[in-house]
């Protein structure tokens, strides 16, 4: 809910660089070290892969901090992050956050480090509290970063309430949604997952959630899953799995085998088995359809009941061509859409045979 968010960032927008959000004096050791490094060596030092670790160690940083900074400095978009001359855009920050996921560092670590770096370089606003969260849609809003520690407590509380609600059916506390919306607006994937899940499993319609609620839920889960949130990807996989249909099962397969892979539960694993088996079953259907085509061929060649019923070879050949075309169509379709429903192939094959037999019996 946007009304819960304090968008009063007019001061921040025109504030001198380096005095935004988190006061300089409150920078951590990492932030102070980076600031000093930028003041003394410039940002070129971060491009020097050999000197950088030693320089950072010399500034008194621990091995872990050195390792993390080295990793993050190699991520695409780092240059814009520490540009002391030109402020970073929000898009550049978001892109960097997404790219940094490849380092294997947790999102909390990434966000904290980004906050320290941008604050030290003065390239973006570092939001110190969620109530001061800027509205992304507002014009002239500087790029901002929210350190993990700002919302860690809120998110922990939300997580506990969410788990209780999901596992035991305990009612959702009203204040939980109030806590969630600012986090969702801040683009925090975990919050998006919680809210998306809640919206998708709410019961405000006659039979499940209303269309708008469902859409919003799916949208939030998709955002969270795209940001690498495993449970969100798993929930989306469940959603598409239970929705059924070729396209949906394809999406479910993608989500289950994507970010959700490490967090798949028993139910999701069974769903995966179903999806795999469906693909296998389609193969069986195609093989049976081939048998039907063989029956059609035998019917044309052997022509049972020939003394009484006419043979009609031309119709037989036409039926064979049609049958073969249908089978080929089924095979192609199965390759392109592996989770498609192929029941129509054997049925169609039977009907082609039936039409041929009908022509034989009647004419």
């Amino acid at each position: 809910m946007k009304e819960n968010v304090n968008n009063d960032l007019s001061g921040a927008a025109s504030a001198p660089r380096g005095i935004t959000g988190v006061p300089t004096g409150r920078l951590s050791d990492v932030g102070r070290a980076v600031r000093r490094l930028l003041e003394t060596s410039g940002r070129e030092i971060f491009a020097d892969r050999e000197k950088l670790p030693a320089t950072l160690r010399a500034l008194g940083l621990s091995e872990v901090e050195v390792y993390r900074l080295c990793l993050l400095s190699s991520v695409s978009g780092f240059e814009e992050l520490i540009d002391t001359e030109e402020p970073a855009t929000q898009m550049e920050l978001d892109r960097y956050a997404a790219n940094a996921a490849e380092t294997g560092l947790g999102r909390d670590v990434i966000m904290d480090m980004m906050a320290e770096l941008t604050c030290a370089a003065g390239s973006a606003v570092c939001v110190s509290q969620l109530s001061a969260l800027p509205d992304r849609e507002q014009a002239d809003v500087p790029a901002f970063v929210i350190p993990w520690r700002v919302y860690a407590d809120d998110l922990r509380a939300v997580k506990a309430a969410f788990n209780k609600w999901r596992d035991g059916g305990a009612p959702l506390p009203k204040e939980m949604l109030d806590q969630l919306w600012p986090l969702v607006n801040a683009g925090i994937a975990e919050a998006q997952y919680y809210l998306g899940y809640i919206l998708l499993h709410t019961d405000d319609g006659a039979d499940g959630p209303e269309e708008d609620t469902r859409k919003k839920g799916v949208e939030l889960l998709t955002m969270a899953a795209d940001a690498g949130n495993g449970p969100a990807a798993s929930a989306l996989g469940d959603y598409y799995y239970f929705k059924g249909g070729s396209e949906n099962w394809g999406l479910a397969y993608d989500y289950y085998t994507g970010f959700a892979a490490p967090v798949l539960g028993e139910r999701q694993r069974l769903a995966m088995v179903d999806i795999f088996n469906h693909r296998r079953f389609n193969g069986i259907l195609l093989r049976v359809s081939a048998v039907f085509l063989a029956v059609l061929l035998i019917s044309v060649l052997w022509a049972p009941g020939a003394p009484v019923f006419s043979v009609m070879p031309a119709a037989g050949i036409a039926a064979l061509v049609l049958g073969a075309a249908l089978l080929a169509l089924g095979v192609i379709r199965q390759r392109k859409f592996p989770f498609d429903n192929l029941y129509y192939v054997p049925t169609g094959m039977f009907l082609i045979w039936a039409v041929y037999m009908f022509l034989r019996l009647v004419f």
Binding site: V273, H278, V295, Y343, T347, L351
Partner: protein, 512 residues
């Protein structure tokens, strides 16, 4: 207009129309006056005083009751001319009088209403039976029909409203007394009066004499029934159902009359009894589907067709199949979840088709094709019914398409090949002309077999061997049924049954 008033008006109008032929056959100014007077009185009692909240079926005995004095009034001249001042007491009349006296004595013992009602009906039946000459079949049938109708409308009326039982019993008793008095005083007059019903029946017979007339009549009555329920048969009340039952039975009667044979009367009789039972059940509050009489009439038509052709086995196969499906359909959602249901369709279809093929158009290629069709259909249904590892249920539309294709293929198999026979009967002879149905076939042999109604008592077969495309014969009737078997050069053995025409009119009217 209130719904019940409309229903009463429809029944009143139909009854007035039914009595119109009787008026026409005995038309005079006085009879016309009697007709108008009685109808006016009946209209007042039946429509005006009948009540807006009570269905018309409650008061149908009233309608039937008034038809008797109306009919007698229309034929007042006949009654006057036949009644004499003499009062011959013979043994028959004394026996009849004693029967009635005993019956009324039992009725006076304050037995239960139900017993009284049955005694009333029994009296009516006994009266009719004892009064009529045994040779006058028409009067007996007429009397029996009246008793049946009286029973039916009384039962329905009392099921709808038990308070009407007393009135119905009174009306029944009055009819009995009226009839007893008439028979005791002048039995001949009653006898001849009954004979005059021919005019009414001829009119009714004319209505159903050709298929299109019967269809028009049936559709007209069915439309009235639909009007009664505002074209929503699921909400049909007893009045609409009664009329629909009447329409269905009329259609069945017309169908049976087209090819009357020995099984026609029992089948139609059974349909009448079942229809009345269903109506009585509905009147008692039991849930019945509105289309039951239509389904019953169609089933009876099918039964008559099969029996006419001597297809006992086919009838048995259909009956067993229907019983199986009915039993299965009682299980909730059975057809949705079980592939066995769908597999049963081709199996039952195969049994029915094979029995038909064996009796009507036997040939090795035909049986072979039928087996192939059934096997492939079963295979297709088996594939669709295979348990999907992910629990996905193949849509029923695929199964419906397969079963429909199977039915079409079976029909095509049954219709192909063989011979057709054109038969024409005269009084004591039948001329048969057997012709090819297909272009290439020629006749190998023909046999004519005479049997009784049950297919027994076969007379010697007469075999005529030739290689012609057509063959004709002029035969004298030797028994009730003629079975023609023709085998063609392709090996198809065709069997056609011809029943000796049953002269129902002759039986009914011959001793008048």
């Amino acid at each position: 207009m209130k719904k019940n008033v409309f229903c009463r008006a429809v029944y009143f109008g139909l009854n007035a129309l039914a009595m119109l032929p009787a008026l026409i056959s005995a038309f005079s100014l006085i009879s016309a006056g009697v007709y108008l007077a009685v109808e006016a009185l009946l209209g007042y009692l039946f429509i005006r005083r009948g009540g807006e909240n009570a269905p018309a079926a409650e008061d149908l005995p009233l309608l039937l009751f008034f038809d008797v004095p109306l009919y007698a009034g229309l034929h007042y001249e006949l009654l006057i001319s036949r009644f004499t001042s003499e009062f011959p007491l013979n043994v028959n009349r004394i026996v009849l009088f004693l029967i009635f006296a005993a019956a009324f004595g039992i009725a006076g013992l304050k037995l239960k209403k139900r017993v009284l009602k049955w005694i009333s009906v029994l009296l009516l039946g006994l009266g009719g039976f004892a009064s009529m000459r045994m040779s006058a079949l028409f009067q007996l049938v007429l009397y029996a029909a009246f008793v049946c109708m009286w029973m039916a409308v009384s039962i329905i009326s009392e099921r709808l409203n038990p308070n009407k039982a007393a009135r119905n019993n009174w009306l029944g008793a009055i009819l009995t007394v009226f009839f007893t008095a008439a028979v005791l005083c002048e039995g001949e007059a009653v006898f001849y009066l009954g004979g005059e019903w021919r005019a009414v029946l001829s009119f009714a017979g004319g209505l159903l004499s050709t298929p299109w007339k019967a269809l028009l009549f049936t559709v007209g009555i069915a439309l009235c029934a639909l009007l009664m329920c505002s074209f929503d048969p699921w909400e049909a009340g007893i009045d609409a159902r009664l009329l629909l039952t009447f329409a269905s039975l009329a259609a069945l009667s017309a169908f049976a009359g087209r090819r009357f044979f020995v099984y026609s009367l029992p089948v139609v009789g059974a349909a009448v009894v079942l229809s009345i039972t269903a109506l009585a059940g509905f009147a008692s509050g039991k849930s019945r589907r509105w289309y039951f009489p239509v389904l019953l009439a169609l089933s009876c038509m099918l039964v008559l067709t099969l029996l006419y052709d001597g297809l006992w086995l086919t009838l048995l196969a259909i009956a067993v199949s229907a019983a199986i499906f009915r039993r299965l359909s009682r299980k909730n959602e059975f057809y949705k979840e079980s592939s066995s249901f769908w597999m049963l369709i081709p199996i039952c279809g195969f049994a029915v088709s094979l029995s038909w093929l064996c009796f009507k158009r036997l040939s090795t290629p035909g049986i072979l094709v039928l087996i192939l069709i059934t096997a492939v259909t079963l295979a297709a249904l088996w594939v669709l019914g295979r348990p999907h590892p992910a629990g996905i249920w193949a849509g029923n539309r695929y199964r419906v398409a397969i079963c429909a294709a199977f039915a079409v293929l079976c029909a095509a198999t049954l219709c192909r090949g063989g011979f057709s026979a054109d038969t024409q009967y005269t009084d004591y002879k039948v001329s048969v002309e057997v012709g090819c149905r297909d272009g290439d076939a020629v006749l190998d042999s023909i046999s004519y077999t005479w049997t009784d109604a049950f297919g027994l008592d076969e007379s010697a077969e007469h075999l005529y061997l030739n290689r012609e495309r057509t063959s004709s014969a002029n035969l004298s009737w030797q028994n009730t049924r003629l079975v023609i078997r023709a085998t063609d050069s392709l090996g198809v053995s065709t069997r056609i049954v011809v029943w000796r025409p049953f002269p129902l009119d002759e039986y009914l009217y011959s001793w008048l």
